[in-house]
């Protein structure tokens, strides 16, 4: 079977659709989590969701739905702990994470068969996704995307400055809970794609990548969604390209691809910020006394190799910590 035949198989088509939706939804909600400096919240919810999956497997109900319910409960608990703002809220969160993970593993241990199935949820098994799973995934992801984009002004304001948002009349508790619930839903949507242990990476890494090069919230959000989709679709196709006798699941390839994007964007971002800062016009202030440069054999001009920065009605050439402005036959120190 050739690679293209494989990609055209029905299960791959389903997997690709799921990857697109997950790739859009996870960074969308992830942007708000990073904005609140709660990048690891997705990870926490992922650990709690393990218990939900285990309960589903043990009781024979759909693990997706039990995971959604337990993840939402966990997310709300995290949010409540955060809102109470106790000094050791951090520790309380950690307790919840580990409780969730240990509980899940324990519950799975009660039933011999569910152990291997739990693995599918921990590391993702996008290619085993059924038709109903796909519809549920797409519907939930669509809700997450629509809310994250549609309510962007409100969600942005609440995450940016809670107090200001409250005085602006926004019900910040409702918005905070909304973000927590959306994060929980996203985690369970993405668990089939990248797996619970790597979910948080798809929520956070594209955001970290896009903010290297963006200066506004909107571009960060949109670019993160684009990057997330590229990583999840690319990772899936990459995983499918390994020989059939290997057991490469798409979760790790998706996350590694997203990280590769970050590794490329990071130096580019440092360079772009530096370049922008260097070229930013100097402020125009009343001139200090006229001061000529020391003897100056070099002729400044276009492409002379020095950064030229606008300064009022002329240009200053920057070198060796000085700003040299042409003045008749000599240069002035500015």
């Amino acid at each position: 079977m050739s690679y293209w035949e494989l990609v055209n198989m029905q299960f791959m088509q389903r997997a690709l659709l799921a990857a697109v939706f997950t790739g859009l939804a996870a960074p969308a909600i992830g942007t708000y989590l990073v904005q609140r400096r709660m990048a690891l919240m997705g990870d926490g919810i992922g650990h709690v969701a393990v218990t939900g999956v285990a309960i589903g497997l043990l009781t024979g109900t759909s693990p997706t739905w039990t995971a959604v319910i337990v993840a939402i409960a966990g997310a709300i608990a995290i949010e409540v702990i955060r809102e109470r703002g106790h000094a050791n809220g951090d520790v309380a969160l950690a307790l919840l994470f580990y409780g969730g993970l240990a509980g899940g593993v324990l519950i799975t241990g009660l039933d011999n068969e569910s152990g291997s199935r739990l693995n599918q949820f921990l590391f993702g098994a996008i290619t085993t996704i059924s038709r109903t799973d796909l519809i549920v995934t797409m519907a939930l992801a669509a809700v997450v995307i629509l809310v994250c984009v549609g309510l962007a002004p409100q969600l942005f304001a609440v995450a940016q400055d809670q107090e200001f948002a409250r005085v602006a009349g926004l019900n910040i508790r409702a918005y905070n809970l909304l973000v927590a619930v959306l994060a929980a839903v996203t985690v369970t949507v993405a668990m089939r794609t990248v797996g619970l242990l790597l979910v948080s990476a798809l929520m956070v890494v594209p955001v970290a990548t896009s903010q290297q090069l963006s200066r506004s919230f909107r571009t960060t959000l949109v670019a993160a969604m684009v990057l997330g989709t590229a990583a999840s679709v690319g990772g899936l196709l990459l995983a499918a390209s390994f020989p059939p006798d290997t057991r490469v699941s798409p979760g790790p390839t998706i996350v590694l691809l997203a990280l590769a994007g970050f590794v490329l964007a990071w130096p580019a971002g440092i360079w772009a910020r530096r370049r922008q800062r260097l070229r930013q016009p100097f402020p125009v202030v009343p001139a200090v006394a006229h001061q000529e440069t020391d003897p100056h054999p070099h002729q400044h001009g276009e492409d002379c190799g020095h950064v030229a920065v606008p300064h009022g009605d002329h240009v200053d050439y920057v070198h060796d910590g000085h700003r040299h402005a042409p003045h008749g036959k000599h240069y002035d120190e500015h």
Binding site: F156, E163, F164, A168, G169, Q211, S216, F217
Partner: protein, 269 residues
Amino acid sequence: MSSPAIEPPVVELSNGAVAIAGRPILRHIDLTVHSGEFVALMGANGSGKSTLVRALTGLWPLATGSLSLFGTPFGSFHDWQRVGFVPQRGGATSGVPASVWEIVASGRLTRRKLLRPLGRADRAAIADALDVVGLSHRSRESVSSLSGGQQQRVLIARALAGEPDLFFLDEPTAGVDLPNQQVLADTLRTMSERGATIVLVAHELGPMAPLIDRAVVMRDGRIAYDGSPLASEQVATAHLDGHHHHHHHEPGHHDHAPHVSSLIEGTDR
């Protein structure tokens, strides 16, 4: 200005108290601010100025007492587009880049309906607010690339963008240079002349001094002085001098006539 009998006070707090973590911070606060007044809230560090502003905006719940805004009891007050707030803080950054324009635009949220894009009036108000604080040319930049004082000016613009009638500013000019303080003072003067009510927390009034109608001095969580404007150096001793009488403003009484009791020259307009 409408007749005093009809217009209720803009802010009315009676016998207010605030406790933080069970510890009483503000006690026995009676504060009435009438429409169009420009009140300076002064006092030493930790005297409770910010706490009072936060109580008046509903950010701290009252332990006792009753608060009404624009004549509506606080519990049923929803007219938030009439209220503007500049919190006391350094910096406007968060975990994700945000442009200056985006932060200022969030000041329009009080007037925007859910899921509606920004209208023409919103964009104009945002542009005006950016203009006032002199940051129009940097509106596309990330706030994190601005200096502390410039970030403070972004927060002022955010509140201005909402075009409020009642303005709470908690040390808005801390870290802002004198020319820009002057610009803010000019803006506040215009707003005040249009009838806005302003409550300003400040240690140094600077260019705002001529605008102040009334000074309220806090001391250890209580109001120590409420009367005609004071110079910064008089604040520490305000509760001691003979002026300690509650300067009861009659409803709607907003006189621009010289205050006979004015303690500093040049405060009269």
